[in-house]
């Protein structure tokens, strides 16, 4: 049986990247505990609209944990304290207690300027992908899938890396503003497969160069990223990226 919760939310309002920003707060009353966090914010916005106030802006799209758009820093944790391996949209009010104060902030990192309120600009990630996060496929008749043999372990590991949804929680959590967990996952998903190998060296160099150019920080292995990643990416990916990158540079 669903229980109802009442709590206070403090949510971040900011008019664009240059604005200083501030918190606003509101009492939320009798919210069923099976409401998702974003549904709770929809309720907030309905109230705001009814009162003729400006709604609270936050990112979201699929609301099923696969697109990587939702991005709220809840009570000091990116995506909040979800059940392991989940995004903000998969956070439910049952994770909170009656009478709680819930603080909602945007991803705060120089690489992700605020667009409005808790919606941040993550185009930097798209630019890193455009720099090399793909294989240059020659189109033509596809060959039989089984003609390239891939060890099960490699296929599984590549799939785990590919499950990174590019949400940016890793950057948001990092005291160095480093994007290494994201970049290493995207390099790994291809580096682990034979189809990705021909361009592996070029890809590692190009994606790291773009990441540096965009001003993301130098990783010092604090592991805050893997602690908050909703897709459970690990720093084993970062070791792999370091390996790929150093090998590529030494071969030049």
């Amino acid at each position: 049986m669903a229980k109802n919760l009442s709590f206070t939310i403090k949510y971040w309002k900011q008019n664009g990247p240059k604005d200083k920003g501030h918190f606003e707060s509101r009492q939320m009353k009798d919210i069923p505990d099976d409401t998702s966090f974003l549904e709770m914010l929809d309720i907030l916005n309905e109230q705001l609209i009814e009162e003729g106030k400006e709604p609270f802006v936050f990112d979201h799209d699929c609301r099923e944990g696969i697109c990587g758009m939702c991005s709220l820093y809840i009570n000091g944790t990116p995506h909040g304290k979800t059940e392991r391996g989940a995004t903000t949209c998969q956070l439910y009010m049952r994770r909170f207690k009656d009478g709680d104060t819930i603080t909602i902030e945007p991803w705060r990192s120089a690489g992700f300027p605020v667009i409005k309120d808790c919606m941040v600009d993550r185009t930097a990630f798209d630019k890193i992908i455009q720099a090399g996060g793909y294989t240059t496929v020659r189109t033509g008749a596809p060959q039989d899938a089984n003609s390239i043999l891939i060890p099960k372990q490699d296929a599984d590991e590549a799939m785990d890396c590919a499950s990174c949804i590019g949400c940016g929680a890793c950057v948001a959590a990092c005291k160095n503003g480093s994007a290494m967990l994201f970049v290493s996952s995207k390099v790994s998903q291809l580096a682990l497969l034979p189809q990705g190998r021909p361009e592996a060296a070029k890809r590692a160099k190009a994606m790291v160069a773009k990441m540096d150019e965009l001003g993301f920080g130098n990783c010092t292995n604090t592991r805050a990223c893997e602690a908050v990643c909703p897709k459970c990416e690990t720093i084993a990916n970062i070791a792999r990226l370091n390996r790929e990158f150093i090998k590529a540079k030494l071969a030049d």
């Binding site: 120089a110 005291k175 790291v208 893997e226 720093i235 390996r243 990158f245 150093i246």
Partner: protein
């Protein structure tokens, strides 16, 4: 050059200089233990590493490693602050698996530098430097044993050295595996192994230093065999 221009390159510089310093500390720690056993043997090592050209060359190499490590520590930290931006979170929660040392490497490093300056003043200045500059002290420049005795007869120095060793220990419990991770020699399984090896290594090396400092503080006259005469300090 990618070593200077890329983030991973800069980390490789940190990593390689850091590992070289760990190897140096390991050698230094083993060497010190000799002082517990025999004053003569220890002083022979000191004489061997006196002001010979190879000892001076090695010292310059070591100083360069330390300088590069420190310069890059500041460059990395400065760049990382900038990448993080000025907007602080109002509420933060440190995830359980993030170790304190990993987020305070610069602070730990600065404590290490301060300790290092005192250490250079206590020993290098009175030994290698005195030998090069031909300064005469009450204790001869090659009498390392008695310099140790003299230094640790002062409880303030003992306390500072203990704090210093603890700071290096914290620095290394993170630094050791981090350096290897940076070089890419890690993965799901080796991460755990390197972390354990690093903790054990750092503990053993720091224990070697600590035992010597404490032994000299507690019972200097029990150490060093027959010829460990006390020479009163006068400067």
């Amino acid at each position: 050059m990618w070593l200077f221009k890329s983030s991973i390159g800069r980390k490789v510089i940190m990593s390689v200089t850091g590992i070289a310093l760990v190897l140096f500390l390991t050698f230094h720690g083993c060497m010190n233990v000799v002082a517990l056993l025999s004053a003569d043997a220890y002083n022979q090592i000191c004489a061997l590493l006196g002001s010979n050209w190879y000892a001076i060359a090695a010292t310059c190499g070591l100083a360069a490693l330390v300088a590069i490590h420190i310069v890059y520590a500041f460059i990395l930290t400065f760049q990382n602050r900038k990448a993080r931006g000025n907007n602080k979170y109002y509420v933060t929660e440190k995830p359980g698996k993030v170790e304190w040392a990993s987020q305070n490497m610069l602070v730990l490093g600065i404590i290490v530098v301060l300790g290092l300056l005192l250490h250079l003043f206590n020993f290098w200045y009175n030994m290698m430097f005195a030998e090069i500059a031909e300064v005469q002290n009450a204790i001869s420049a090659t009498d390392g044993f008695n310099w140790i005795k003299m230094t640790f007869s002062n409880p303030v120095f003992v306390a500072i050295y203990v704090i210093w060793l603890v700071a290096i220990w914290f620095h290394l419990t993170h630094g050791f595996w981090s350096a290897i991770q940076t070089l890419g020699w890690s993965g799901h399984i080796w991460f755990k192994r390197w972390k354990l090896i690093g903790s054990i290594w750092a503990t053993i090396v720091m224990a070697l230093f600590l035992i010597v400092a404490l032994a000299f503080a507690i019972c200097p006259d029990c150490l060093g065999g027959a010829s460990g005469k006390v020479v009163p300090f006068a400067m």
